[in-house]
Amino acid sequence: MMSHAAYVIASYAVAAVTVAALVAWVVGDGRARQRELRALEAAGIRRRSAEAPSGEGK
């Protein structure tokens, strides 16, 4: 019955690692961006208005 346990464990391990890496990437990326925004804010560079964002889309 347990002959294929290794494959099962490997699958779940790969899944766990992939998901963990994804979560780490998203969280880390978010932190880094927020840090940059704060640094820019500290340097006195502000968006011209909060309602009309300048960069995205248009």
Partner: protein, 256 residues
């Protein structure tokens, strides 16, 4: 025409990036908590239910394999809808959505391929066969990677958005091929057993953990996707602020 454009303006007004950020801040903790909850339940179910008499323990691989495979297709569909949003409605968030979904989709496709391979080795005796289902999923994986590379290669997001949107829509033909490949061609891969018109053919013993895991994965996807979109919006703000800083730099220091 004017009525139409007014409706569009309202629609995009609702989803303007600043509002989206506020909304994301409120939603994300709940979504993440819910996903964690479903994962806990799903994992518990998938390890307590019995193994299959034919496949033995390996049936448990299904509980991660099938949801990731399902997500790999759903993510591409989300990207295709976003691409439509970029090209047709010029929605400001559509291109953010498409761009941030690509790495997530690639990860889940990778997961589907790897877990499938771990399932195939004991069941079919080989890690990989070039049958229609597997090959088309692999092509999907390559497409994701290509889109990521394309997004990274272009500096200006406004310009890359259109180009990658066109590519995403062209690539969408692959999705129905993946979905129906098991029915159109007679292959090693087993046919669909959950999403069928005549109801699932799978034993409820396996169906329950599978569904819970599928819900958990879907919730995880949306959590990650919204968070990644938020990151992308922040990234673009940083970029535009920096450009602004570059424009102003040197003027005040040099002004007499």
């Amino acid at each position: 025409m004017s009525e139409n454009s007014l409706a569009i303006r309202k629609f995009s007004d609702l989803a303007n990036p600043t509002r989206f950020l506020a909304l994301a801040d409120r939603i994300l903790p709940w979504l993440a908590a819910l996903a964690a909850l479903f994962f806990a339940a799903g994992l518990w179910l998938s390890f307590t239910t019995e193994g299959d008499y034919q496949q033995g323990e390996t049936v448990r691989i299904m509980y991660v394999h099938v949801p990731s495979a399902w997500l790999s297709m759903m993510c591409y569909t989300v990207m295709a809808i976003s691409a439509l949003g970029t090209l047709v409605w010029r929605h400001p968030l559509a291109d953010v959505s498409a761009k941030s979904a690509a790495p997530i989709g690639a990860s889940f496709t990778f997961l589907a391929l790897v877990t499938g391979s771990f399932w195939g080795k004991p069941m079919w005796g080989t890690w990989w066969v070039w049958d229609a289902r597997l090959t088309s999923v692999f092509v999907l994986f390559l497409m994701y990677l290509g889109l990521i590379a394309l997004n990274r290669a272009m500096e200006d997001p406004a310009r890359s958005a259109r180009v990658s949107a066109v590519l995403i829509l062209v690539g969408f033909v692959n999705i129905p091929i993946i979905k129906f490949s098991v029915e159109w061609w007679n292959t090693l891969h087993q046919p669909a057993s959950v999403m069928r018109l005549d109801g699932p053919t799978i034993d409820p013993e396996f169906l329950r953990p599978l569904l819970v895991m599928a819900v958990a994965f879907t919730l995880l996807f949306f959590t990650l996707h919204i968070a990644a979109m938020r990151n992308e919006i922040w990234r673009r703000r940083v970029t535009s602020l920096r450009r602004q800083a570059a424009r102003h730099a040197g003027r005040e220091t040099l002004a007499p």
